[in-house]
């Protein structure tokens, strides 16, 4: 940790956490944290004429772990699309080699996020059995702080407790598993459906029975939501709903979101939602098939706008050749049937599954264009930007390196129209979507809400990330944008967000003029929920490892050395 003092002087500060919108001011950092002031010997970073924001917070991205690596392994051709590669010997320049486009290697992942001024990234799905792998990748990823969400929605223990309505046992199991895997919170992917996939089946409605487990997606979602609030975790449940990616799914999405009405938030971390609904673009589809496929963004967002207990992230399509990957095993199998490309599947005993299929979002294909429009419409229809976050569900709808492009589209009608004009089926796309009629252009303040203060608060990490108040972590991005004189050319907005003029992470300058200058100091963030000992759950776990699992319990628990530099969030649970 840098002990030196730093001051970022004279920039237009945009800090929604403190409701500061473009005021000229200084940001002081000492010992890796933001402070009121520093001594005159502090190193000065001149930000005059530039925008100053907190480091970015990514609420949902697949960057580390078995399915990401399955994607890297099975796509050598993705390396040919790598784009910018530093010349010369990487090591000679002081960096590790970078590789990959849609599924970059860990080194490139860390460097690219840093170049974009991101300080925290949430790995969106960690299979508990494979947690040591996730942590091995995280500790090899430079600069950025990371955490990982273990998946619970198809876990045999969870389904077994919840069918009997045992929220307390579920909570005790969750607390144990978060500790065992050094996980952050509760991820749910296609609840019940992925468990059904163990037999090649799926659940596509809230009341579809889960084969052999006598429960339903509705029961799983509600039960986990209650267990989450029972424990008072920093984050809410984080859900990828059933029936992802299919025309007409918006109604199921709204029905699932309505389940949030039954539970009130309870936590000490300033979080206000009880459900985070992820990559909602993939869940906002109208129509009865691909022929009459159309946007359901308005209907879905109308509901989200009314219910403050919900946060969402977008999952914007970016027109790239990318690699889809999700714990929604049946979906990937279905997708492979549509595009006939290679398909990897990883079913994980007792816990979850995952699938990987390459995918090309082709601007000449109407459906892809409509998906693109839906992602942006959701943001443009949103009334509370601090509950709506920028993601591409990396790498599913596009690589995370396209966030700047998504931001450009959100901030510029001109940029959206230019993309719309490039479509072969422009008129059909306009008919099936709302995008052409929306004039709204988001402000830098709103973008900062969507990429900084909002996601930090949603994760219960608002005291550390996403803002510039004294006491918070010293993660600051300087953007080459003039707040008072924003460029007419939207490409310049994209460029400014792609390559930070300067990025300070943990009080240390890691990026200058868009290029990485230090390998930084990263942290692994995890949640330690302290619940009273639960003899039944302990017995159930021991028994399951004896009978059903193929690894020994003693080797299942992630050892401390795999998560060096931990930042542990303690949660005291009253019995």
């Amino acid at each position: 940790m840098a002990s030196r003092e730093l001051i970022i002087k004279g920039g237009f500060v945009v800090d929604p956490a403190r409701k500061i919108d473009g005021d000229v001011g200084d940001v002081a950092i000492k010992d890796g944290k933001i402070v009121e002031k520093v001594s005159s010997s502090a190193k000065v970073i001149d930000a005059k004429g530039k925008v100053v924001m907190a480091g970015g917070v990514d609420v949902h991205s697949h960057v580390a772990g078995p399915k990401v690596n399955a994607g890297r392994l099975m796509r050598p051709e993705d390396k040919f699309r790598a784009g910018i590669v530093r010349g010369n010997m990487a090591q000679k320049n002081g960096y590790r080699m970078e590789s990959g486009f849609s599924i970059p290697t860990v080194f490139k992942t860390g460097y690219e996020y840093a170049r974009m001024g991101y300080s925290f990234v949430m790995e969106a799905a960690m299979p508990p059995l494979l947690a040591p792998h996730v942590h091995e990748e995280i500790h090899d990823t430079p600069i950025i702080d990371e955490a990982a969400l273990p998946v619970f929605g198809n876990n045999w223990f969870v389904m077994d407790y919840l069918k009997k309505g045992e929220v307390e046992n579920t909570a005790a199991y969750i607390a144990w598993l978060l500790r065992a895997t050094k996980g952050f919170g509760i991820k749910i992917v296609n609840p019940g459906g992925t468990a059904a996939w163990g037999w090649g089946l799926n659940c596509i409605a809230l009341d579809d029975p889960v084969p052999y487990f006598e429960t339903t997606p509705r029961q799983i979602i509600t039960g986990l939501m209650k267990a989450n609030e029972y424990l008072g975790l920093p984050h809410s449940i984080h859900i990828h709903q059933n029936d992802l990616g299919n025309p007409g799914n918006y109604q199921l999405t709204i029905d699932s979101l309505k389940l949030a009405e039954q539970v009130k938030p309870k936590n000490k971390f300033g979080r206000e939602q009880v459900m985070h609904s992820t990559h909602i673009q993939f869940h906002s589809y109208k129509g009865t098939g691909w022929a009459d496929f159309e946007s359901g963004a308005k209907e879905v967002m109308d509901y989200v706008n009314r219910n403050k207990a919900i946060t969402v992230d977008l999952g914007c399509v970016t027109f790239d050749e990318t690699t889809t990957m999700t714990a929604d095993g049946p979906f990937e199998h279905h997708l492979r049937g549509l595009n006939h490309l290679k398909w990897a599947n990883v079913d994980v005993e007792l816990e979850t599954a995952a699938g990987v299929v390459p995918y090309i979002y082709d601007p000449n294909v109407k459906v892809c264009d409509i998906q693109w429009a839906i992602g942006l419409e959701l943001a443009l229809f949103a009334q509370d930007m601090s509950r709506t976050f920028v993601t591409t569900d990396h790498p599913n709808a596009g690589p995370f390196t396209r966030y700047p492009r998504v931001i450009k589209w959100l901030m510029s009608k001109k940029a959206r129209e230019a993309t719309l004009d490039s479509f072969r089926h422009k008129d059909k796309v306009i008919d099936a979507t709302h995008i052409h009629g929306i004039d709204r252009e988001l402000t830098l303040f709103e973008i900062a809400q969507m990429t900084r203060s909002g996601p930090a608060k949603c994760l219960g990490l608002g005291a550390y990330y996403g803002g510039l108040a004294p006491g918070m972590l010293g993660d600051v991005m300087v953007l080459d944008l003039n707040y008072k004189d924003m460029p007419k050319d939207p490409e310049k907005i994209e460029a400014a967000f792609q390559r930070a003029a300067c990025f300070v992470k943990s009080g240390e300058i890691v990026v200058r003029d868009g290029e990485v200058v230090s390998n930084g100091h990263k942290k692994t963030v995890w949640v330690n929920a302290k619940v009273p000992e639960n003899a039944q759950v302990k017995r159930d776990i021991a028994q399951s490892f004896t009978k059903d699992y193929t690894v020994d319990l003693i080797n299942y628990v992630v050892r401390d050395y795999l998560a060096p530099h931990p930042m542990v969030i303690d949660v005291e649970v009253e019995a």
């Binding site: 099975m74 051709e77 006939h340």
Partner: protein, 268 residues
Amino acid sequence: MATVTLKPIKTPELIFEGYSITPDAFAGKTAQQIAGLTGHEGKIVTTIGDFFEVSGNAGETAADTDIIINGDCARVKYIGSKMTAGSVTVNGNADMYLGGWMKGGKIYVTGNVDSFCGIQMQGGEILIDGDAKNHVGCAYRGDWRGMKGGTIRIRGSAGNDIGTFMLGGTIIIEKNAFIHVAPHAEGGTVIIKGDVEGRVGGQMVKGDMYVLGKIKFMMPGYQKVGTVEKEVDGVTQTFDHYIGDLGERHPKSKGQIVYANLYLKAAA
């Protein structure tokens, strides 16, 4: 038209990656500048001049540039790779990736070529007087977009993996081939004038194959549907027509399922 002549003066200790030996890289350069173009020998950055004596200046554009290499290039990779126009003649053998990712122009090799000749080729012509090793006109590992266009003619024999994941273009092997002809292909034409050991058209979706010799082991997923007359490489002959690979998926066109075609020269 301008001709640049390269004469090998030194055999590389390891292998010379001569990715700059293309009309596109040479275009607009003098002999001296060409000698300074880079290549790699292991991690060492070397130049064309380290291994060749260069004479003659290049033309203004690739299309105006002919390259003649007088001597053996059995340890020089990537000759003519990614070229778009002009020509390369190798009077001798050539190593891997000859004409790889090529878009246009002509390459002629009087000797043999190693593997990956014409990998992911999009256009142009490759003519080899001798034999080719494996992976003629194949896709790069993992890519489902193999050869898209152009012609590769091998006057000798070729090894395995001919036209893997091929989408278009033509490959002609004038003598024999070993195994795996057009696996996973979804287009294009492969002509084998000699015999093939087997595995012709395995997992093939679409495209045409002609075998003028014998196939030792037929794929079980191919079924004979008739006998046809076809003109192949200028000669009209009678073929047994097979469709397949029946185990593989196949697209529909105008309500009809499209299969890959195997034309095996009918017994006289």
